[in-house]
């Protein structure tokens, strides 16, 4: 069998992803119930029987394992329970309503990061130690260091408030241009990471023995990059994609806050500030699943792309 190595690799990864996910759900659930005080404690003092009613309605009076089994069983059917703060809505409904917009923004940002980041990284690597390289690596360092919640408001200040080119907030416009600032703000740090990674691995590959062989064979730089260097240089990038997804999710929380985008991030922050336990728990589980599934896909791809793993 040709690709036994890759299949075995994929299988082991899959087998370790499932318990991970389960562990996360247990942990998050336990944390919620270990917390001092319930979600309704801050409410004006309510009559004991009302409190008991609420507790019963949310099954808070059952023993913990039973609560967990109930929660987990429902979770398997895609039911994350009712929201504590949005009466009448289930967590699943709230998430699916907000999800699409956030995923759109995230996907656009990732795409942008990959295209620009790889181009910048390759350029810097090929012009290594020249002023262009220094400029680009300096910019990349700034991209990594400056937090989104610093760069995003400054963008708004410059491009929306002072120059008036772009809408300052999501609700202020319904044209496609309202995507521009949030996506750029979200993508910038990722562009910087991708560029740095690409530059580093590209430099390593370009000074490897096999590229020297290719040069000795009279191959031009373009051919060498296309044929020999690009694929191996992209492999480390692949394993960065997992953490990148996590980073974009984190970033989207801030970006949605600043631009007033009604996405998952905003929902999450509101839920957190309002102590909407089930909602926050549901979103964390959703995020974690997303990240784990993405990591899994990346790992499996890796196995198929590296011939040394594939045909082991």
């Amino acid at each position: 069998m040709q690709q036994r190595g890759a299949l075995r690799f994929a299988l082991t990864r899959l087998l370790s992803a499932i318990p991970t996910l389960f562990l996360i759900i247990v942990l998050a659930f336990m944390m919620m119930h270990a917390a001092p005080g319930g979600p309704f404690d801050e409410e004006r003092a309510m009559p004991p029987e009302t409190a008991a009613n609420i507790e019963r309605a949310y099954h808070l009076d059952e023993p913990l394992p039973q609560q967990f089994m109930r929660y987990f069983g429902a979770l398997l059917q895609g039911d994350l329970g009712p929201s504590y703060r949005y009466p009448g809505y289930s967590v699943a409904e709230l998430i699916s309503a907000a999800m699409l917009l956030s995923l759109q923004l995230g996907a656009l940002a990732m795409l942008c990061a990959l295209i620009v980041g790889i181009a910048v990284g390759v350029l810097a690597a090929l012009r290594r130690n020249t002023p262009i390289d220094r400029l680009l690596t300096g910019l990349a360092m700034m991209g990594i260091s400056i937090p989104i919640f610093v760069i995003a408001p400054i963008f708004v200040l410059v491009f929306a408030v002072n120059l008036g080119w772009l809408p300052a907030s999501w609700s202020g416009s319904d044209s496609g241009s309202r995507y521009l600032l949030p996506v750029i703000a979200l993508a910038l740090p990722q562009i910087a990471y991708v560029a740095r990674l690409t530059r580093g691995s590209m430099i390593e590959i370009m000074s490897s023995d096999f590229v020297r062989t290719a040069r000795a064979q009279g191959l031009g730089t373009f051919t060498i990059v296309r044929l020999h260097a690009l694929r191996p240089a992209m492999l480390p990038l692949l394993s960065y994609l997992g953490p990148a997804v996590a980073a974009v999710l984190t970033g989207s929380v801030v970006v949605e806050q600043i631009f007033g985008i009604p996405g998952l991030g905003q929902l999450f922050v509101r839920g957190a500030l309002n102590r909407d336990y089930t909602l926050v728990l549901g979103i964390v589980i959703f995020y974690a699943t997303l990240v784990i599934v993405f990591n899994l896909i990346v790992d499996i791809l890796y196995g198929f792309l590296d011939p040394r793993i594939r045909n082991r």
Binding site: M141, S145, I146, P147, G242, L273
Partner: protein, 285 residues
């Protein structure tokens, strides 16, 4: 290892370059200012003067950075914010250093199955969007000051553990460690005399890279209103406040934003510079 020996060992592994000196210098300057600066100002971070709201940076009344919407002096508040960042950085880094080095060194020295299981756990945790868990903690347990630090440290130890483990594993396989074992050096002494001194360089490098991470996470949470609570302040909450007034009073945003960005930038440059010294990829021949 004695202190002077430790420093000479560090100098051997890390050397010193211009980037390192400049960025380290800037950081020392900022932190010294944060510690002593507020003592020289007539204002405290709590005093609010409703007659002097959102005034521009000026030498009058020593409002060097202006005032915020409650008329509090931003110079003092910004420096207080830097102090918070500094405290976070120190505590969180210490926590991550403690967990990360111990975990990494144990995994690396034990090797084999123990190592495989321990590192699989790290890989798994690594893949998680951790900040959300920290926020989850905040939600459940309330916005506890100490909890923030510990949570950040607990997030950041992963990198340290990976690096230390990798290095220990590599060192353990090196001939000089085998040679020590053959001579009969005890395992404790091998770890202490032969492995740890050679880890010093990487640990220092990754500490300089952990610090900005910790500062970033703290200010991120404060920005969302989930971290430091009023009237205490941090660079993150100052930026948040600045966003609300940026149209009328941009300095309220720009000053803490720039300061935060430069601190992070300097730490990253410093860490990068040190890493290059440790592992110069461009050795001639």
């Amino acid at each position: 290892m004695s202190m002077p020996a430790m420093f000479s060992e560090l100098r051997r592994q890390l050397g010193g370059s211009r980037v390192v000196v400049v960025t380290a210098g800037f950081l020392v300057l900022v932190f010294v200012a944060a510690i002593v600066g507020p003592m020289f100002s007539p204002h405290t971070y709590l005093d609010s003067n409703l007659d002097a709201r959102l005034i521009q940076p000026t030498r009058d009344a020593m409002h060097f950075f202006g005032t915020d919407d409650l008329g509090r002096d931003l110079f003092v508040r910004t420096l207080m914010g830097v102090r918070i960042s500094l405290v976070v950085a120190v505590i969180a880094t210490f926590v991550s250093l403690l967990i990360g080095v111990a975990y990494g060194a144990i995994a690396g020295y034990a090797g084999g199955k123990v190592d495989a299981v321990m590192m699989r756990l790290v890989d798994t945790l690594y893949a998680l969007p951790f900040i959300f868990f920290v926020i989850l903690l905040m939600v459940y347990f309330g916005q506890n000051f100490l909890l923030i630090f510990v949570a950040i440290g607990a997030v950041n130890w992963l990198d340290m553990a990976r690096i230390v483990r990798g290095q220990t594993l590599a060192l353990r396989e090196r001939e000089f460690v085998e040679s020590a074992r053959l001579i009969g050096v005890s395992p404790a002494r091998i770890v202490f005399r032969h492995i740890t001194p050679n880890l010093l360089g990487v640990v220092v490098v990754y500490v300089t890279l952990t610090v900005p991470q910790a500062i970033l996470i703290e200010s991120f949470m404060s920005f969302l209103g989930l971290g430091i609570q009023e009237p205490q302040t941090s660079l993150g909450s100052l930026v948040n406040n600045g966003v609300r007034h940026m149209e009328s009073a941009p300095w309220v945003l720009l000053i803490p934003a720039t300061l935060l960005a430069s601190i992070l930038l300097c730490f990253n440059f410093l860490g990068d510079g040190l890493r290059d010294q440790l592992d110069p990829k461009e050795k001639p021949e």
